[in-house]
């Protein structure tokens, strides 16, 4: 059951300066909305009730994909469909195109933005339903109990909270070594995708480094991996609408049958996209083939701590890593 949204003031700034002013003025009560596909569910459930909603879709400079020489710039307000359809991205980063194309449903991709996709909150159903858990400022985790339903929760890096990153584009951007550009008070700073996502040990109430007042303006994908081998695969309970149980993103350079460089990341297994560094290191300098597949499968989920209902993610991770390796053959 959903309700109409709580009542709020809606602002539609036309420039970053205006948006910054509004964010400053409304402080904790301000909430940025782009496509709203994450935000409106929170509002309809009345779990989050910010009094000032700032619709940033009018910020023209945050739209569009363009070639900047060393990197490709993707405006934070580019919709996932725009990414899917971009010939520039198809040519250089099919991995990201594929990841964006596996998000939710066509209609959601037509209005959901890349910025919203990386900045979205976790989908832990207890938290989304308004349970007063650690992440919501309370003092318990409802997902990590003997009887809790936690088949979608984390295998790694749990720290009180066992929620996972829901984003499909996140692991792709981590694999591609993308940089996130964040504006605040007229200044901008750049954070690598890997540092952009944060776990509960850093701050249990946030999923990313974004704080109230920050605006993600742009994602920069360096050309380093353009033309390299790229692989994305997502496993979910259903093909449409559903979040990843596990997804995998890989970029690799292969010469003479040997892997010279590789990055691999998984979503859905911890609070941030997880670099599979042990798979990466066993691949580097080695010959692509069945043996590499077997090894990748064996080490991918090493160190996993399963909860009551999410053991299945361990072989799933191994298999996805192995399939990524197989794609290089």
């Amino acid at each position: 059951m959903t309700d109409v949204m709580h009542s709020f003031d809606l602002f539609a700034p036309a420039s970053i300066e205006e948006a910054a002013k509004l964010l400053d003025k409304h402080g904790k009560e301000a909430w940025i909305v782009a496509g709203g596909k994450d935000s409106f569910d929170w509002f309809k459930d009345r779990v989050k009730r910010p009094s000032a909603v700032i619709d940033i879709t009018g910020l023209k400079q945050l739209h569009g994909v363009s070639d900047k020489g060393n990197y490709i710039s993707i405006g934070a307000l580019s919709t996932l469909s725009e990414i899917e359809d971009s010939s520039l991205l198809k040519k250089n980063f099919p991995l990201l195109v594929e990841a964006a194309g596996r998000v939710a449903s066509p209609q959601i991709r037509n209005s959901g933005t890349l910025g919203g996709n990386v900045a979205q909150d976790t989908r832990c159903s207890y938290y989304r339903d308004g349970f007063p858990c650690y992440r919501a400022g309370g003092n318990t985790c409802y997902a990590n109990t003997p009887t809790a339903m936690n088949r979608e929760h984390a295998l790694f890096e749990a720290s009180r909270c066992v929620a996972v990153t829901p984003s499909d584009t996140g692991p792709a951007l981590v694999a591609l070594e993308a940089d996130m550009v964040i504006a605040r008070d007229g200044k901008t700073r750049t954070v690598s995708a890997e540092k952009f996502f944060i776990g509960p040990a850093t701050d249990i109430t946030r999923m990313t480094v974004l704080e109230k007042g920050d605006i993600l303006t742009e994602v920069r994908v360096p050309k380093k991996w353009a033309g390299a081998k790229q692989y994305f695969e997502k496993v979910a309970d259903r093909e449409t609408w559903d979040f990843a149980l596990v997804n995998v993103a890989m970029v690799a350079k292969v010469s003479g049958g040997k892997v010279s460089d590789v990055r691999m990341a998984c979503g859905g297994v911890q609070c941030t996209p997880r670099r599979l560094s042990n798979v990466e290191s066993l691949m580097k300098g080695e010959k692509v083939g069945a043996e590499m597949e077997t090894l990748a499968k064996r080490v991918a989920a090493r160190g996993a701590k399963a909860l009551n209902y999410n053991h299945f993610k361990i072989p799933l991770m191994g298999n996805l890593a192995a399939r990524a390796v197989r794609s290089l053959a």
């Binding site: 959903t2 109409v4 949204m5 709580h6 009542s7 709020f8 003031d9 809606l10 602002f11 539609a12 700034p13 036309a14 205006e18 509004l22 909305v33 709203g36 596909k37 409106f40 569910d41 509002f43 309809k44 909603v53 619709d55 879709t57 469909s81 939710a104 449903s105 066509p106 209609q107 959601i108 037509n110 209005s111 093909e239 449409t240 609408w241």
Partner: protein, 244 residues
């Protein structure tokens, strides 16, 4: 204040008031029955209507007078609507382009497009199934791309050309090839998902007039059908493709 015919002149004379531009000046009153009919020929209402005024007719009446009143109450709100949106929040009386017509509507900040279409404009062809972007019954076109109107703020649709299921047939009432094909292929069972399926399919053919079956399946994948009539809709799209 007495809202007589000439209340504006009264105010202007008595208080020597310099009027700000009136956002309601170009407000066009359209009789309620015309609104629902949209692009369709006028229906003989008597054939199905109960002897008393139907509930829908009643609701539409009340909503319309609400629009007129708030038009007056927003008179004083300054000049440039863009500047106002940034500093004081969005203007409530907005112009929307729906099915090729400009419509002035009073829209609350937290109102969804599905709500505005159904309960303010009487365009009840757009259905609300889940109200949270998970079923597709509320699908409409915004500048020819499909969106879920239940999860879009009406204010975010300003400046876009919105097409609801009422707007896909030709002005003379000839059905869109998709609509005809869905009839020919016995697409709908209960029919609740049908308006969303029609709009999603029309959106597909606008971008890709000759889709493969896989492309069509993917384009309709954001539309749930509880009756499971997916294959019928898919056949309908294939039948209509190339003729849209």
């Amino acid at each position: 204040m007495d809202m007589s015919e000439n209340w504006k002149e009264d105010v202007a004379e008595s208080e020597e008031f310099d009027f700000p531009p009136d956002p309601a000046d170009d407000f066009e009153w359209v009789p309620a029955t015309k609104e629902v009919a949209g692009n369709m020929p006028d229906l003989p209402l008597e054939t199905w209507q109960s002897p008393s005024t139907s509930r829908r007719e009643f609701l539409r009446g009340v909503v319309c007078s609400g629009v007129a009143v708030s038009a007056a109450s927003y008179l004083w709100a300054g000049n440039s609507s863009e500047a106002r949106a940034a500093v004081r929040g969005v203007e409530r009386l907005v112009t929307l382009n729906i099915n090729g017509k400009n419509r002035r509507v009073d829209v609350a900040p937290n109102e969804t497009l599905a709500h505005t279409l159904r309960y303010k404009l009487g365009l009840t062809g757009t259905k609300i199934g889940c109200n949270r972007a998970e079923c597709g019954a509320c699908t409409v076109l915004a500048d020819n791309t499909t969106i879920y109107s239940c999860s879009t703020l009406t204010h975010q649709s300003r400046g876009k050309k919105i097409t609801s299921v009422e707007g896909v047939a030709a002005p003379d009432g000839t059905l869109h090839p998709i609509q005809q094909a869905f009839i020919d292929e016995l697409g709908p069972q209960c029919g609740f998902c049908t308006p969303g399926q029609v709009v999603a399919a029309v959106g597909l053919l606008k971008k890709n007039p000759k889709p493969t079956e896989d492309e069509a399946r993917r384009a309709l994948s954001g539309n749930l059908c509880r009756c499971g009539a997916y294959d019928h809709y898919l056949k309908g799209v294939m039948r209509a493709s190339g003729r849209a």
